[in-house]
Amino acid sequence: MFTPLMFASILPEILILALAVILLCVEPFWKEDQRRNAGWLAAGGLFFAIIISLLFGRPGEPTAVFGNMIRFDWLGFFFKLLFMFAAAATALLLMDHEKAGSRGEAYLLLLASVLGMNLMAASADLIMLYLSIETASIPLYILAGFLLADDRSTEAGFKYLLFGTLASTIMLYGFSLIFGFAGTTNLYQLSQMFAGGGISIPLAFSVFALVIVGLGFKLAIFPFQFWAPDVYQGSPTPVAGFLSTASKAAGFAVVVRLFFTAFPGFAPSWTLILAVLSAITMTVGNLLALSQTNIKRLLAYSSIAHAGYALIGVVAFNQLGAASVVFYLAAYIVTNLLAFGIVMAFSRVTGLEEITDYAGMSRRNSWLALMMLAAFLSLAGMPPFGGFVGKVFVFAAGVQAGYTWLVIVGILNSIVGVYYYLNAMKFVYLYRMPNEDEANHPLPLTRPYAITLAVLVLGVILVGTVFAPFFSWSDAAALNLF
């Protein structure tokens, strides 16, 4: 039977699907030069879906619906809102992409991917989990390789596809082993299996390792991070922004739910493994970012490092840890979307992506430069931007859990981060264009960019100053895990 509760639990997905169908029906009737308006439609529709979900789709007590396939709780709901927000911003940023912007398929794929991510955040069963991960990934493989005429994009799409399917197959193998040992695919029943000692520790660890491969690929943590720079560099910039934010956050949504509910039985051991992975991930990401000359590759390595910071909250394995991961991701999504949006706005006019090309940018468009400053300082973890508060919470959770060494590694890493973020800002503010001719090279922003970037920069500042409401939502989400 289809109860109102079941309806509410997948309300956002229903709306996204309806939006996708509308888009599919309407778009072919538009003329070639109007097709970019599909971006307005997608973003507006997602915005509408967010409002409607907030009004009618709010979860109450955590409940399992659809035969325990889906869990209707704040954790999933908060992540869904984040994904839809990220997708709306990405749709707007896609609009003025020279090659991808006027093709309706791009928006359709984006919506399909968000649908998958939403279900990832809510799924309470291994089968559902796997299906939703694939639903989220396959459209992204296509989007990464969307620019057929561009070798880099094709390479990006193909690379992402090959590594992605390989990783998810290994993870699927892990899932099947879990089912074999435990006799159930439900996450919430698994924990009792593990706790009851129904499975030996070495076996549990091999299963754990297999699962980590698939999820680690999604999160782009060491040693599964190598695809990220190439894929980000080759994909259309807004898609790269989406990959580095929503896709990563979806991975974290799964990690948090899976590890906190299914594997608490042998927590001290896996948290140690994750702690080591987190430390290496941050260090690798930051050190490799130092030598980058391409802004998208720089952001790719920096996003690897940020996955490492966020993992500290998972490692802490307490309520503050879970809340801080969710908060960190919220701050990070807004910030990184802003950063990629600026890169997109800049390269739309200039066609350039090297860091040196940003010389003199503050004299070409002082607002764009200020927004880039906000984004990069937030990534570096400086107040009054979201990144600072997120980092402090994650570090606080780490110290509380006794992982002081990991927090110190994180702090050393954030110092490295400050160096390369500021180095990039040096070009924006300090250096001049080769002929000091900035006045004749303005950087105009089209309307979708102006709106999106303004919203994002306000978001970065809001999350960093008035953080109480965001934290209480994150905390409500985290509370569902315990």
Partner: protein, 507 residues
């Protein structure tokens, strides 16, 4: 409810920065007008707050405001000042006001004169005001989280201010060095703060960043011994303590004039103040245990800084190292942990802030007109800018610790305190007074009173502007005022010292 004066003082610069950013970039004069108006208003407010505290004979924390920010984690926006921090709030107001005045600038095509900030003043003043707001926030915060929040806000604009508007030759290097040093220091201290936060929770069950609450947390002796050094030194990096002082002179030299004033006048106090407030006051047993080490570091800074200043041919490097030396005196006073030492440290923070701001302001005026800071290449300035000369001499007298000026009121108790604690250190540290007198007098003679070199005479050097004179007068008045009437400041700082001694009492 009372007028929320501390929030207004703190957030006014942020609001002004936002307003300036919203103005068109080419309306330079209007931007400067907004900056000056906001700075003057902030100076008036902080002066009013100071006088209220002083004349009311208040003690303890006053003007307390508290707004819940994140109750779940015990973070609140809690402001309040005591006898230690109220003078520093006033100091920030003074430096902010005079900094805007001397950055106003003077542009003269004919004489190749480009004083002050001519390139993108809108961004300059906005970033400067962000910095100022952060500084006010740190001095006024009673919440440890908010203290860090404002502390970081005060640090990062420095990078941009130095890198964009600084001295072309070293600005990139110096800005990055400064930022990394300060950031490392602050995050190390942050780990200590988080450890304190959770330990308090374990001890008392209270989840709060409120520092007044943390004073009662009952940290164990071992905990204090371990965490005092990271916390104290993490902040003291910004106070320019030896051996982590290296960023400071480079930063001073590379920074544009107003930023040097802020940097030496206020930011270094920020480090010393935070080290005192968080390190000494929250971990008193740790302070007691490590005080000899801190005293050693400080004594080295005092003598070594003075000696390096003595041999510097560059005017700005000289003042930069003299700042290291004088801030060493502050740390020396703190490390005694006795009444006299702490009292002197409190006065010295204010006195040195005003004095060094004055030095950097006048150095900036000279450099903008002569395009050199090499002491041997300068000369004869007294005839051209008599007003600035008088200002520099007054600053010099303060620096040497002459009676009648604020420097004496500060240094005399410090040495008394050190004598009471370790007489040998007092003897060694007092060498610095002689070295300081030597380099100050030598420089006054060379820069202002020797005949002007011919190469310099070709520059057609002009006198300082009216705004510059206003700035010099303001700064001098405060130094003489405190020197002649110590009762304008000392009783107030005494109440702050009593509070610190009360916390140390158990140690």
């Amino acid at each position: 409810m009372n007028f929320p004066i501390l929030s207004v003082i703190t957030f006014l610069p942020f609001v002004a920065a936002a307003i300036m950013l919203l103005m068109p970039a080419d309306r330079k004069t209007e931007v400067r007008g907004v900056a000056l108006a906001a700075a003057a208003f902030d100076l008036l407010l902080s002066g009013w707050m100071y006088m209220q505290y002083l004349l009311g004979g208040l003690t303890g924390y006053q003007f307390i405001e508290q707004y819940d920010w994140l109750p779940a984690l015990g973070i609140s926006l809690k402001f309040g000042v005591d006898g230690m921090s109220a003078p520093l709030v006033l100091l920030t107001g003074i430096v902010m006001f005079t900094g805007v005045l001397i950055s106003w600038g003077d542009y003269d095509e004919k004489h190749h004169l480009s004083a002050g900030i001519q390139d993108r003043p809108r961004e300059f003043f906005s970033f400067l005001f962000l910095l100022a707001g952060g500084v006010f926030g740190v001095f006024a915060s009673l919440d440890l989280f908010m203290l860090f929040f404002f502390y970081e806000i005060a640090v990062f604009p420095m990078y941009l201010l130095i890198a964009i508007w600084g001295w072309v030759k070293t600005r990139e290097y110096a800005a990055m060095k400064l930022t990394l040093y300060l950031f490392i220091g602050s995050v190390v201290a942050l780990v200590g703060a988080l450890a304190m936060y959770w330990t308090q929770y374990q001890n008392t069950g209270i989840l709060s960043f409120d520092m007044l609450q943390m004073e009662k947390a009952g940290f164990s002796q071992a905990f204090q011994y371990i965490w005092f050094l990271p916390v104290f030194l993490g902040f003291a990096v910004l106070g320019g303590i030896w051996p982590f002082h290296n960023w400071s002179p480079d930063g001073h030299v590379a920074a544009p004039t107003a930023v040097s004033m802020f940097h030496a006048g206020v930011l270094m106090k920020l480090g010393a103040f935070a080290a005192l407030r968080v390190g000494v006051m929250l971990l008193p047993k740790g302070a007691d245990y490590w005080s000899d080490l801190i005293m050693f570091f400080a004594a080295v800074a005092v003598v070594y800084g003075a000696y390096i200043a003595f041999v510097q041919p560059d005017l700005k490097y000289m003042i930069g190292f003299s700042s290291v030396s004088h801030m060493g005196l502050v740390m020396l006073g703190v490390s005694t942990l006795n009444y006299n030492g702490l009292l002197g440290a409190g006065v010295q923070m204010f006195s040195h802030g005003v004095m060094t701001a004055l030095f950097f302001a006048i150095t900036g005026m000279i450099y903008d007109r002569s395009h050199t800071r090499q002491i041997p290449e300068l000369g004869g300035m007294a005839k051209i800018m008599p007003f600035a000369t008088i200002g520099f001499i007054i600053g010099g007298l303060v620096s040497m610790g002459m009676p009648g000026f604020s420097g004496f009121v500060a240094e005399f108790p410090i040495f008394m305190g050190v004598w009471g604690s370790q007489w040998l250190v007092a003897v060694i540290a007092s060498i610095s007074i002689i070295i300081t007198a030597a380099y100050i007098m030598r420089n006054i003679r060379q820069v202002f009173f020797s005949p002007m070199p011919e190469a310099l005479a070709e520059h057609h050097i002009t006198d300082v502007t009216v705004l510059d004179k206003v700035a010099i007068t303001t700064l001098c008045l405060f130094m003489i005022g405190v020197g002649m009437f110590p009762s304008m400041m000392v009783p107030m700082i005494e109440t702050g010292v009593q509070n610190i001694l009360r916390l140390l009492g158990g140690a």
